[in-house]
Structures are given as C-alpha cells and as structure tokens.
C-alpha cells in the first residue's frame, strides 16, 4: 500500500521528465532503456546511467567486489538490449567517510572486472563522501541507427522469446531472506545468480548485427514488467503460453509449494533479454543463440498480457520487481 507522502519511483520520473524541454527529433523517447543522440552518417551515440544505492539495491551477504561489478553489469545489460557494444564506462562513487583502503580496492577491482568481461574499460569517474555507498555507472557506445534494437517496434504475430531461463535469482533472493531446506548445490547456484549476474551482450550484438529481431528490452525489473513495457511502447499485447523457468528451480518450487509464476515473472534482477521476432527467423536465430526460449506471441491487445496455461487464461499483472528495502 502506498504511504502518504511517498512518491513512487514512476511518479518521480514522470514529474522530472515532464519538466525537461525535449530534444527535437530525438531518436529514442525519454525513458527508453538508453538515451541516444544522432551524431551524423547514420550513427547514434548511445548512453545510459544507472545508480546503485547499496542500502536499497544490494541483498545481504553480497560483497563490495560483487556489488561494484553488478552495478556495471546492470548498465551493460541495457546496452545489450539495444545491441550496442559499450566503448567506455564512467563511474561516480559516493562512499562513507571512514573506509579502509581494502574497501576502496574491492570496489575498484569489481568495476574493472565487469568492464573487462564485456570488452570495455572504465575511463573516468568521480568520488564523493556520502552516507550510503552509491555507485552511479554511465556507459557509452556507438551504433548504426538502423541496427539499434528498439522497444516500440514489436509486430503483431511476432513470437516473443527470452535469452535464458528465469527463476534462479528469485530463488536466490528468497534464500538470502529466509532459511530454506535446499540442496547445497542449488543454493549455491541460486545465490551465485544474484551475486554474479551476466549481461547478454554477445546475444544482443548478434541479434542487432544480423537484423534478426523486431524489438527487445532487458528484464532487470522482472519479466512481467518488461513485457508490459514492450507492450506499451509498441502498442501491442502478448499471449504467453510458457513459463520460462530454470529446471531445478521448477522442481524445487513444486516440491516446496512455491509459485512458479511468481518466480519466473516477478523475480527481477535477471539480465535476460526479452525479444520479439518474425516466426520464420526463429530457426536461424536459435542456431546462433542456443539458450533462446520462445514463450508466446504478440497480439493486437494493446497493453494486455495474457497467460495461457493448460487452456486456462489469466491476466499477467504488470507489477515490477521490488527492491531489497521495505520500499513500496
């Protein structure tokens, strides 16, 4: 329930966006995964910033190296969804006053590790004193405008796919919050999915360079939310007929009476891509991206996401992932 005086993140963004003069002929609308500027010869400069505040964004037990790595991964994931290689990363750090050299080193190493995993470098930044550990990451890349993957171009009849199975981070977050009887192996896998996420950059680049898809978005706010954003931007709907969930998570969930839909669609902190494409391109694409899972198709029902399982229909509510604090 919303508390009095508490503005939701969405409301805050709306207020701010509405107060900005808009750039004319902006290649992407404000609020897309990334911002873009035309720089001539059919090219776009693509930028994204994302601020991680440890207090609300970081689950218990995650170390500083992982935290700073994850801050970078989450921005790279947004460029991945557009099919853009990051060329450089800037990082602004707010850190508490009394910290050790080792604290700073872990953060410095984590950001470098993330950048290097994805073929880029941290090339600049800023540091400040702040109460909360704050890591704001900006990434920059260039792409051909006609290769940029958009989120407003899903077509009725497209199949909708994800680049991998969901549910491990959702399970991991549950384990971190509450003790559960679970095999050591699955526990480790689930927690690793939370602490050491991967961005689907090579997949995004492959899709873009080969013009294989019509639209995409990353799934870091939860699969249901990503589908909803795609449907709003493209003015279409979805019928989903498969829960793309990790096999071991499914087995564990069924044994322990956990909700599969909850785990797959509302988990959040998953960095898979959600993409739509012409059905005829599927085989060719699947050859290039083996992890691809088709989960349904695009409908005319603008803004509607229908889940059809065993011939039963239900609406998939467009809730987002909720962060680790007690926030609304």
């Amino acid at each position: 329930m919303l508390k009095k005086n508490k503005l939701t993140e969405r409301k805050i963004i709306d207020i701010i966006v509405n107060l900005q003069d808009k750039m004319k002929n902006n290649p992407l609308p404000f609020g897309d995964d990334v911002a873009a500027i035309r720089i001539g010869k059919g090219q776009l400069a693509v930028m994204k910033c994302d601020m991680l505040v440890a207090k609300t964004d970081i689950p218990k037990g995650m170390n500083l190296w992982q935290t700073s790595r994850k801050a970078v991964i989450s921005v790279i994931s947004d460029l991945a969804a557009k099919g853009v290689q990051p060329m450089g990363i800037l990082i602004s750090l707010g850190m508490p006053r009394k910290i050790s050299e080792n604290y700073v080193r872990q953060i410095g190493r984590g950001m470098n590790a993330a950048a290097r995993e994805y073929g880029t470098h941290v090339i600049g930044g800023d540091t400040n004193e702040s109460t909360d550990l704050t890591i704001d990451v900006s990434a920059f890349g260039i792409c051909k405008e006609r290769e940029l993957i958009r989120r407003d171009t899903a077509k009725v009849g497209d199949i909708v796919m994800v680049t991998g199975a969901f549910g491990l981070p959702a399970l991991g977050l549950k384990i971190i919050k509450k003790k559960m009887e679970i095999s050591k192996k699955l526990k480790e896998k689930a927690i690793k999915a939370v602490f050491m996420p991967k961005a689907r950059l090579s997949e995004g680049l492959t899709l873009a360079k080969n013009h294989l898809i019509n639209s995409s978005i990353d799934s870091s706010d939860g699969l249901a939310w990503s589908l909803y954003e795609l449907s709003k931007s493209s003015n279409i709907g979805f019928q989903i007929n498969r829960i793309p969930i990790h096999r071991e998570v499914r087995e564990f969930a069924i044994k322990n009476d956990l909700d599969l839909i909850d785990l797959a669609f509302y988990g959040g902190e998953e960095y898979e891509l959600v993409i739509t494409q012409k059905p005829t391109l599927y085989k060719k694409t699947k050859k290039k991206i083996r992890t691809l899972i088709p989960i349904g198709h695009v409908t005319e029902n603008s803004g509607k996401i229908i889940l059809k399982l065993k011939n039963k229909y239900r609406d998939l509510e467009p809730r987002g992932f909720e962060h680790h604090s007690n926030n609304v």
Copy 2:
C-alpha cells in the same frame, strides 16, 4: 590534519585508477577534466560525470533548484575547459524517501534550466532512494581531436590567463558561514556567485575553434590547484604576478583585513577557465574574450608556482578548495 582511517579523495582516486586496466591509445589520461574515446575520422567522444552530494557540496541557504542547476553547470564547465559543446546530459538522482512533489519539481526544473542555458538537453537518467540528496550528472559531446584543448600542452614562455576575476564566490561562502558587515549590494553579488554560477562554455568553444591557446583547465577546485594540475600535466611551472580578484572584493578585503591571496587562489567553486597561450596571440584573443585577465607566464620550473608581487617572491602552495562539510 589527516585523521586516522580517513582516506583523502586523492588517495581514493589513486587506488581506484591504479586498479583499472588502461585503454590502449587513450586520447586523454585518466584523471583529466573529461574522459575521451576516439570514434573515427579524427573525432572524439568526450564524457564527464560529476556527483554532487548535497550534504557536503551545498552551502547553507542554497535551494533545490539552484542545487540541481549547479550540479549540471559544474559538468558543463569541464567540457568548456576542453572546448567541447555538450550534446546531451544524463542525470542520476538519489533522493530521500519522504519528499514532496514540489521537491522533485524544483530539482527537475533546475537541471532543465542549466541544460537549456548551454544549448543542450537532459535526455535520460535514473532515480533512486538514498539518505543524502545525490545528483550525478553525466555530459556527452563530440569534438575534433585536434581541437580538443588539453592540459598537458602548456609551453614555456606561454602567458597564463583566466577568463574572469576571482573572489566573489569565496567571499560569498565566507558570508554564508559567518555574519559580516557588508553592503547589501556586494553581499547579494557574492552569494549569487555561489548559488548561480556560470560555466565559460562560449569562451571555451571560441578558444578551441580558433586554435587560440595551448592548454586549459577549469578552476572549480581553486585557482592555485588548477595551476598546480596544469603544471604537473605539462611538466612546467608558473610565475604569477597578478592576483586576479574582483574589484569590489579587493576593496572589501583590504578594509576588512581579509587575505587577497586566499580569496583569489583558494576560494574554489569558481568556474573560470585557466589557460595558457603564445603571448603573440593575446591581442587577438582579448578582442574575442573581453573578460580575459593575464596573470603571469609559464616557466621551466616543473611543478613550481611562484607568486611575484611587488618584487617579493613566494611559493603558491598547491592546496585545493575544501568542501562545506568538516572534511579534511
């Protein structure tokens, strides 16, 4: 004096920079005013991020509109020092939990105002919950590599100049901290200099396009500090023979026994450019930039800044500007 366990900002930056793999053939060294990447055809993408934390970076009495405007101005000033027009601005906001719509509106309006003053737009961003109001601004622009003004290219024999008189913000900060007997007019002017700074963007662009100078840096950390940074980067020294101080500040300071050198060289939060050029170009440049003040010349004395006033010599200590908290 340094407290135990308190790392200085410089030490923190050194630790982090040393842990980053370096991009090969980076057109600018890490730690310059901006970061830059070659994007082909002799062009550079130029980027800068700067995090403002209200708790430490904002003096008493400054409102939210001014705060968010100033956060943007300070980044534009860095691009100005390189002679680069900002093409787009991204802003990550960390804001306390319980804020009003009006709070958000003031911030949203301030950032738009700053961007529009300098011919650019806020084109994206992110919002978060945090304990301190945190405004991290990233700016992006493109320039020809041969027009980028560097800080490692000051030449022995160059004259060193500033784009305007110093001291008003330093006086303003003193007034904010401590009551003083001062005329209403000067008080307002000094406080306005703190709350409503301007970036020297048109000056920076003029200097770059016309290849008028050899090096530049902005002066936001204090004039002495900027001279010191220039001298380190270019492996030269300076002899300064003029205190470039605002006339009314000089008069007030003399009457009230305030230190002129302190006000002009260690004030900070001034967004003038500090530049060096061939003496023969001075007349031509002064015609284009009327506010220009020559203050001395470049010497061979690497890292040394000598102040020569009335035939007395003294070293100008390379202290930086100290922020508003009780930090070291």
